[in-house]
Symmetry: C2
Subunit: 351 residues, 2 copies
DNA sequence: CTGTTAGCGCATTCAG
DNA sequence: CTGAATGCGCTAACAG
């Protein structure tokens, strides 16, 4: 019976000491070869590298993190991954982290402040070097600066109440406002805003833009924040459309609301844009495939995730936690398709 | 000037020893209070807990993992998070991990075998207790059992070549086959299969189901695997529809292909299901909102992620890495809406 | 019931 | 240029 290679027979994972012994050098020399920070004789390096390969040695990042007071990982807390918007954000964050050689620890808050808090604590226990988070609910979140100590935290998509946190947002208010102005240019005067709970920062910010545009035009606002379910939305839209001051145009607060309204519109047999013009906030994958193609405010989703993560790495690198965080607001685009009444054969993008 | 609380003035994070000192006990006692595995006098426990609160002590999970040879984290490698299908999988995996008190380290392969390999190595360096992965490309993946040593790995959605890996799949072939049979029942004889690259396991498996159904019915197959872009798909569909043996029904391989075909259909002004019946593999959010609502094979996406992750935890708990992995195949459903020619007002789900 | 010792794998500090 | 000692924070094993 052939003897097992002694090397492979070792049960536990090889350590730096194993490598050093095999190469006939000290552990430090191995460490130096690995890190490359200090000069080592070519011949010694060679011996070490051979030993590493022979043992299939892999540095223990856990030990390294433990020792070095730097975990080379960041935390990412999102409400959910079911929403493609959040998933896209996550992709962007993870991509930037990878570029920096960092790992991402992912967790979801489900939009619940308590879960969010507990998960943030877990991240802290894991000694993440920093945290990127899409906060749960503005008025209810338990995330405070003191919770995190010196660990940098960047919020994005939605702000955190404590201004000490950095935050990256998009032009929610301005975007909604411009969209409404466009609808007004189409001649609409009865424009409704349909959204999810106003307690969500983005939904509210967009509403404010809607309201501003309506007021500036001397029009009466007509908004509804109960689009939490398909049923509710259908019921409401049916009512609205039946009334004698029925809206002739609608702006939805986000993709979920858009989806519900779209479904309701189909149920009710309303024709878009003839019976009702329609625009949504947040672009999505099938927006230009459905009929008619949907006019939307497009937010720079990936960009937002990238900017937030880069900002976090700035903080990590500099090691400072300023008293007042940065507030970065990214521009949105208006994508004119046909649901608003435009006749463009292909989308027109306004910056 | 009021003196800063001595406790808060400490710069570094408090350690177990700090707590022990403050409570006037040994570090082990603190450890025991925390773990709760050994009995401690109520009074002592009280003192320790007070000290913990006072110092805002948080156990260092890094040290614990390092010491305990168990990182309490699992790795998750996905091709991408842009695809809502993958994102849904990720959500399921992360949810199960959270239930078990585990962290998830997330990374993307971008469908590239080399990236996948490098990322797997990173996971190993981080000493994840296990790995859940949606592999890149069957014939090209470099993920082998020997790479991982004793670290358990579960593949899902797509298998890995090495049968030593556990894998969780859905009924790709049977699902496609039944869908085609349904199309045949509608009287179609020229049914086309349109898909992405056949090198992808799922796309190929579904094609096999399509082919089987066609052959069993004595029909001629007509398939195309170039739906990698909107342009390609449009060009191809236009050609196909122009030909004298133009298909009267189409089955698409997945949501991306469905999207491209949908867009092409809109461009070409083809009416569904009158001019062309249409069914897709994989349900998606707007499938029942578009017009006509789309008939699809629905796969149990979340369930697949959950099952895979639970299987992984089984392996982790048992500490065994069997020579032959399990192969779990989850059932799919046929969701009959209207694009196939059915008249149902609401979807009919066939199990 | 509680304290002491020791060591997980690595890299900083200090010698040689 | 290289090696030895030391300790990061925690917990198993052993004493007391």
């Amino acid at each position: 019976m052939k003897q097992q290679n002694r090397v492979a027979a070792v049960d536990r994972k090889p350590t730096m000491n194993d490598v050093a012994r095999l190469a006939g050098v000290g552990a430090m020399t191995v460490s130096r070869v690995l890190s490359g920070t200090v000069r080592v004789t070519a011949e010694t390096r060679q011996r070490v590298e051979t030993a590493i390969k022979q043992l299939k040695y892999r540095p223990n990042e856990l030990a390294r993190a433990f020792r070095g007071q730097r975990s080379h990982s960041i935390g990412l807390i999102l409400p959910s991954l079911y929403d493609p918007f959040f998933a896209t954000c996550a992709h962007a964050v993870a991509t930037v982290a990878k570029e920096r050689g960092y790992s991402v620890i992912l967790t979801m808050s489900n939009g619940d402040p308590d879960t969010e808090y507990v998960e943030a604590e877990h991240m802290l226990e894991r000694h993440v070097d920093g945290l990127v988070v899409i906060p749960s609910i503005f008025r209810q979140t338990r995330l405070t600066r003191s919770l995190f100590g010196r660990t940098p935290v960047v919020a994005f998509d939605r702000p955190l109440p404590d201004p000490a946190f950095d935050v990256v947002l998009v032009q929610n208010t301005a975007g909604a406002r411009r969209m409404v102005e466009h609808l007004i240019e189409h001649g609409h005067e009865r424009i409704a805003y349909m959204g999810l709970a106003r307690s969500l920062f983005t939904i509210n910010a967009r509403f404010l833009g809607y309201r501003r545009a309506m007021r500036d035009a001397g029009l009466k606002e007509d908004s509804f924040f109960g689009c939490e379910s398909e049923e509710n939305t259908l019921r409401l839209l049916a009512e609205k459309l039946k009334g004698k001051n029925a809206p002739t145009a609608i702006l939805t607060s986000n993709t979920l609301a858009t989806r519900y309204v779209l479904s309701s519109i189909a149920h009710l047999g309303v024709r878009v844009p003839n019976d009702l013009a329609f625009a949504g906030f947040d672009d999505f994958d099938l927006a230009d495939v459905i009929s008619p193609p949907l006019t939307v405010v497009r937010q720079p989703t990936q960009e937002m995730g990238r900017v937030a993560t880069n900002l976090l790495f700035d903080r990590i690198t500099r090691g400072e936690t300023p008293h007042l965080g940065s507030r970065i607001v990214l521009p949105v685009e208006i994508v004119l398709r046909r649901s608003c009444g435009c006749k463009h054969r292909t989308p027109v993008v306004i910056h």
